[in-house]
């Protein structure tokens, strides 16, 4: 009868056991281990790509209307997550990272949810002037985009809405408090027909596939219902032909 392990067994008796001293000392997982999700709400642009690619549907998005805007909360349910890191791969902004933390044990499954909230300010309406204006021209001097033109003699006040970025400096500087932003209307993507070259990069990059571009027909269409105003098309357009603003 052969006993091949006898020598090993006896020599193991006199050597140190190879057990890691786990709960007493913490053991780190190796780098690139896909553990607990960490979500940075500040980097998130609410494109929703992660929700689309998550195969166990572990990510939910909750909208909550508050004064001045909306609270957008993303919840990552770790009891449903399969830790594939596809959401991390698809997030351009780097808002989702899978850390090396593997200590995910809880008595109540509600403790195993990672969430983050971002406050999205509503885009204010168009800049408008009231009758209190004395045409002093301070607003025009302080506008960083030089969007305002004031003529003291002709007593006119004009603003070029395409240049205005709604920074609010003119409202601060006006001595008569004559300036304010109007009612904010529905937001969406505004398309500048003159600048557009129909390259269709915006259509390819849109995570919800809202944009359809036809190069031959030279047409550009957007499905406003699916658009979440994430801003990826605005960023990727090579001709700056798109911007997010109040729709007419």
């Amino acid at each position: 009868m052969m006993f091949p392990f006898l020598k090993i067994a006896v020599s193991n008796l006199f050597s140190k056991p190879s057990t890691e001293n786990f709960p007493a000392e913490n053991v780190e997982a190796k780098p690139n281990y896909r553990g607990r999700i960490s979500y940075d709400a500040e980097k998130c642009i609410n494109c929703g790509s992660c929700i689309k690619v998550c195969s166990p549907s572990a990510i939910t998005r909750i909208y909550e209307d508050v004064e001045g805007g909306q609270n957008i909360t993303y919840e990552f349910d770790l009891t449903s997550c399969t830790f594939c890191a596809t959401c991390q791969d698809f997030c351009d902004q780097g808002a989702i990272q899978l850390t090396t933390d593997y200590h995910m044990v809880a008595e109540d499954p509600k403790d195993l949810v990672v969430r983050g909230t971002r406050f999205k300010k509503k885009i204010p309406g168009k800049l408008q002037v009231s009758d209190a204006c004395i045409h002093c021209g301070i607003c025009a001097k302080n506008c960083p985009q030089e969007a305002i033109t004031v003529d003291r003699k002709a007593k006119t006040w004009e603003v070029d809405h395409s240049k205005c970025v709604q920074c609010g400096k003119c409202i601060e500087k006006c001595p008569k408090n004559a300036l304010e932003f109007g009612e904010s209307g529905p937001e969406g993507v505004l398309w500048d027909e003159e600048k557009c070259i129909y390259c269709s990069i915006c259509a390819k990059k849109c995570p919800n596939e809202c944009i359809s571009v036809d190069r031959k027909e030279k047409s550009w269409e957007i499905n406003r219902d699916n658009c979440v105003q994430c801003g990826i098309c605005v960023e990727k357009c090579p001709k700056d032909a798109l911007q997010i603003g109040t729709l007419e």
């Binding site: 057990t19 572990a58 200590h103 995910m104 044990v105 809880a106």
Partner: protein, 148 residues
């Protein structure tokens, strides 16, 4: 006098029975790996029992398939008190990628109260040991509450 000794011993010698209700076997491999020399769960007294009648902690893995649901409930009823139910991985908690399927009946909370949830797909053996350790503490508390 013996009650204190028995309660202390209950926390120091928890025997595990493992039920696989349709799992992909990833979590099962990590559970058995926790008993290998590198992670050695046996230092805390954990031992795999062969029958549910000998077990204290029942570890369930796998989304509860319709075919295994009745058998699982019957097995859980055979475990003597005090007992703890531990879910291993994300399948028994929510069905993971099998959610919404016609033959999957996760979450386990619908059928029996789950004491400890170990999340991960699959959890690392160290996380498994952490979860089982917590379950052993809960078991000791249950035993102390039983005899009051």
């Amino acid at each position: 006098m013996f009650n204190k000794l028995i309660a202390k011993s209950t926390g120091k010698s928890p025997w595990i029975f493992h039920v696989n209700t349709g799992s992909c076997n990833g979590c099962d491999i990590e559970l058995v790996a926790a008993l290998t020399p590198r992670y050695d769960a046996e230092r805390f007294g954990f031992k795999l029992a062969g029958t549910p009648r000998h077990a204290d902690i029942v570890v369930v893995s796998g989304p509860i398939t319709s075919q295994s649901k009745d058998r699982l409930i019957r097995t859980l009823e055979q475990v003597p008190e005090p007992k703890c139910v531990v879910t291993l991985g994300s399948c028994p908690q929510s069905g993971n990628v099998f959610k919404g399927s016609y033959s999957v009946e996760a979450p386990l909370e619908k059928f029996v109260h789950v004491d400890v949830a170990i999340a991960g797909c699959t959890p690392k053996p160290e996380a498994v040991i952490e979860g089982l350790y917590k379950a052993a503490e809960i078991l000791q508390r249950k035993r102390e509450a039983m005899k009051k």
